[in-house]
Symmetry: C2
Amino acid sequence: MTTRDTAVKTLRWRNGRLEMIDQRFLPAMFEYVSYESAASVAKGIHSMVVRGAPAIGCAAAYGVALEALRQRGESKETFDRALNEAFEVLAASRPTAVNLFWALKRMRAAWEKIAAQPVGEIADALLAEAHEITAEDLRINMAMGGYGAALLNDGARVLTHCNAGALATAGHGTALGVIRSAVAAGKHISVIADETRPFLQGARLTAWEMVQENIPVTLITDNMAGFMMSRGEIDAVVVGTDRVAANGDVANKIGTYMVAVLAHRHGIPFYVACPLSTIDLNIADGSAIPIEERAAEEVLGFRDYQWAAKGVKVRNPSFDVTPAELVTGLITEKGVVLHPNRENIAALFR
Amino acid sequence: MTTRDTAVKTLRWRNGRLEMIDQRFLPAMFEYVSYESAASVAKGIHSMVVRGAPAIGCAAAYGVALEALRQRGESKETFDRALNEAFEVLAASRPTAVNLFWALKRMRAAWEKIAAQPVGEIADALLAEAHEITAEDLRINMAMGGYGAALLNDGARVLTHCNAGALATAGHGTALGVIRSAVAAGKHISVIADETRPFLQGARLTAWEMVQENIPVTLITDNMAGFMMSRGEIDAVVVGTDRVAANGDVANKIGTYMVAVLAHRHGIPFYVACPLSTIDLNIADGSAIPIEERAAEEVLGFRDYQWAAKGVKVRNPSFDVTPAELVTGLITEKGVVLHPNRENIAALFR
């Protein structure tokens, strides 16, 4: 085991508040933003202060806990109404990542179990549950890392898309957790990071995480992955995911599908690091996964720098769906599911 | 025929100088830069003031003519030495686009035909040849446009990558020339433009050209093409090319290969607008085409805005190779070559 997983604390609990690294400005600025209400956390999720499916789940859990703490002096009726509103506003913050809904469901179950008790006790219990969801995420990432590391050969050059790192989780990371665990096991791994337009999570976050830990990392634009594969410079692909359907179709950051199609053409294994909380058995296949479309400005430039021609229309789907047939394996905390399908995914939950 | 082709003059001859639109700053700034020597034109090509294979060919031809005019007062010996140096510096400006070498070869042939004549006459003849290469490029683009337009159905949604427009040529464009001709023929065409990192030719140049002419254009990041195809929102792909090998393998802007692989998977026709000057019969297949690697800064950000994490390594191949098997057809000024191969390409030159 390594202590690397504690190097970056995407979310932390300090003085009765949630603090999150503002990932919109990394790596130019490293700064924690403080949150005291569910509505402000929802805004932080929507504006991508925090992003990454598991981290969004943790943030939402803390959002509920914050609201409960904020309302602990109120009557039961007021408390209940405010808490129900908190669940609603958090659920509306981003549509694609299922971890958000999974975490909210878990928080609601924790609430319902003790709904008759005084509001102060409920608030304390909800905070404890948010802490546990977060601690559990780290444990799960370490477990996935172990299983995934075994899939990578010494010397492997691993392409990843977006950031499924410590910054996307409670620590260690999902896809980057696999890489961290392989490195910790003594393997020489080098990372090829897609920059991941429009939000540039690869250039800003994945590259930053790897540089911090001296894991060799090479940045490319998203349209270079095919070239690198055609030259034999990629040995494996490992990505994260925001939602996996019951049949193994994988929703992940826009561009993942293109990488999967290319990996398939070149016979390169394509792995998805996927905690069980990301699997949505209520969704039969990828066509039913809601795909968030974000604001045009993100595509017209980056932050305040707008370079595109005035008057052009824009599409900005934030995710795409990779069909299960292109997935070599799902790396979960219960082990690796090769060639995922309805049956072997259902078996994970038995 | 339309007059659209004269709307944008990428290169123009004014007062004994070559003027070129500085495409590095479009569309924020529209500005012509003036050139008086071969060395300065070579620098303009290398720094991408002018880009696009056919436009580079025209610029190189003018570069030779400029140097000849500049040396017209010199002795034959000095003139010859300066002109030979001009050919060398221009040939070294960019390695991938074959039009550059094609234009230089043509200029050298024009020179050799009258090498015994007074230097003043040679200079005049070389300028006339540069004018003719440029005028010919426009005629060729109009011819390609006509053949290509017939391939697009009314209502077609056409994806293009990079900018193979008026800005990449002497006018009308190759890939965008096909779209312009289809629109001029009364078809309703809408364009989906890949932004084309790192230089953003799609976001800046293709979008700008289309907006100017009220041709509907939607901008996407390069990693969204697969999503659009999977949703049935792309009917055809048309791109330009920098060099086509004798077997039909196509070198074009980085990312083209990924689009071709995806189009193939989705059964979407993939066309390459390709003047004969872009076909290099001396290259057996795509593996022998030299691929330019450019400076890291281009990938670390855009212009002065560097957003990537400090310390990350970078790859920056400027082109990739699409194998002939993925090309539905080459659109040339002699007609469309479906499923290009060694035989039907050779037949174009008989």
